[in-house]
Subunit: 216 residues, 2 copies
Amino acid sequence: MNIAVLGSGQVGQTIGSKLVQLGHDVMMGSREEANPKAVVWAKEEKHNAVFGTFANAAAFGEIIFVCTLGSVTLDALYLAGAANLKGKILIDTTNPLDYSDEKHWKLTVCNTDSLGEQIQRAFPEAMVVKTLNTLYCTVMVDPEKLVETTDVFVSGNSATAKASVIKILHDWFHWKRIIDLGDITTSRAVEMYALLWRSLRLAKSSHSFNIKVVSH
Amino acid sequence: MNIAVLGSGQVGQTIGSKLVQLGHDVMMGSREEANPKAVVWAKEEKHNAVFGTFANAAAFGEIIFVCTLGSVTLDALYLAGAANLKGKILIDTTNPLDYSDEKHWKLTVCNTDSLGEQIQRAFPEAMVVKTLNTLYCTVMVDPEKLVETTDVFVSGNSATAKASVIKILHDWFHWKRIIDLGDITTSRAVEMYALLWRSLRLAKSSHSFNIKVVSH
């Protein structure tokens, strides 16, 4: 499948490489056509990995992974272009984090709105599914590296898009526990979890962890 | 031990009853001296359970469990009186939730501040430890009802107060996994988790659950 990965940072590279490994054709999109990180990544992957602008990548992809920093996600998607996103599934892995105070990460939107909702409102003809944002990137694509099976969440307005994303999470990344939280407004819940993720990351001195929801 | 439980709702009653069962003397504090719920609760417990105003209870307790609705917590503590809280451990189980929109719970403070911090700032001579707020009350006092061992968190500025609370959680309620998240500013993280807790509660149709942090 032709897949767009928007963002050339650690998340984009990790997801992009996993998708290439799985045999997909991946275009990494960046602000500049030849972003140095994207160029190096595509060269390292050798096969099935190319790079281009956000618009090139969005036009190329049948499915679009949004992997930019939260602070530039909407910008990146405007550059990608509504026409290139129309009718497509946007897998939104982003968090609207402001890291400027290293001790106290904060969100630029929360509580009564979320980045997931902002994206869906800005691109009403795309099908936004928020997922994987509660995890460090290496866990996103390889949940089996943890010692127990843990949970990942999906939020979105389109039931069919969520079903497709659940299948991708399961079949491609081997997620076995996937909880549908509801419509895109539940992005608030998973984005606001970012502060607990950060505190746990500091308490554990590791980013290789996740939560498992345990019932009675 | 003489213990104050501030709040006569479900959380106060559940924690109060557990403390009475453990052989402690418990005074349930309310705005009115004879809050009908507190009166009934004390009558049902028969022994070692009494009721009074917030100030009566705070004066009585060597340790104080704060179990009110988040919306009235600061009010309740002002009524309890700084002199009655001075030098004592305040176990803060509250969340600053606004339930007015049933579909979308929201916090009245978050992201750059928290109720835990507000309490600590308002009563600098008390030792505030935020804990148990990530759980439904029946799980707070009986984590072993869940099918696996899960995690509870503590946040606070006083290391000795946190050590005492960790001992209470372990010895009295049988918590086996207790994560110290850091100072009271980490209350933001656990209070902001309330929205994910709510989404999980709806997705699971149960409030009897908790999260387990799983590492590699």
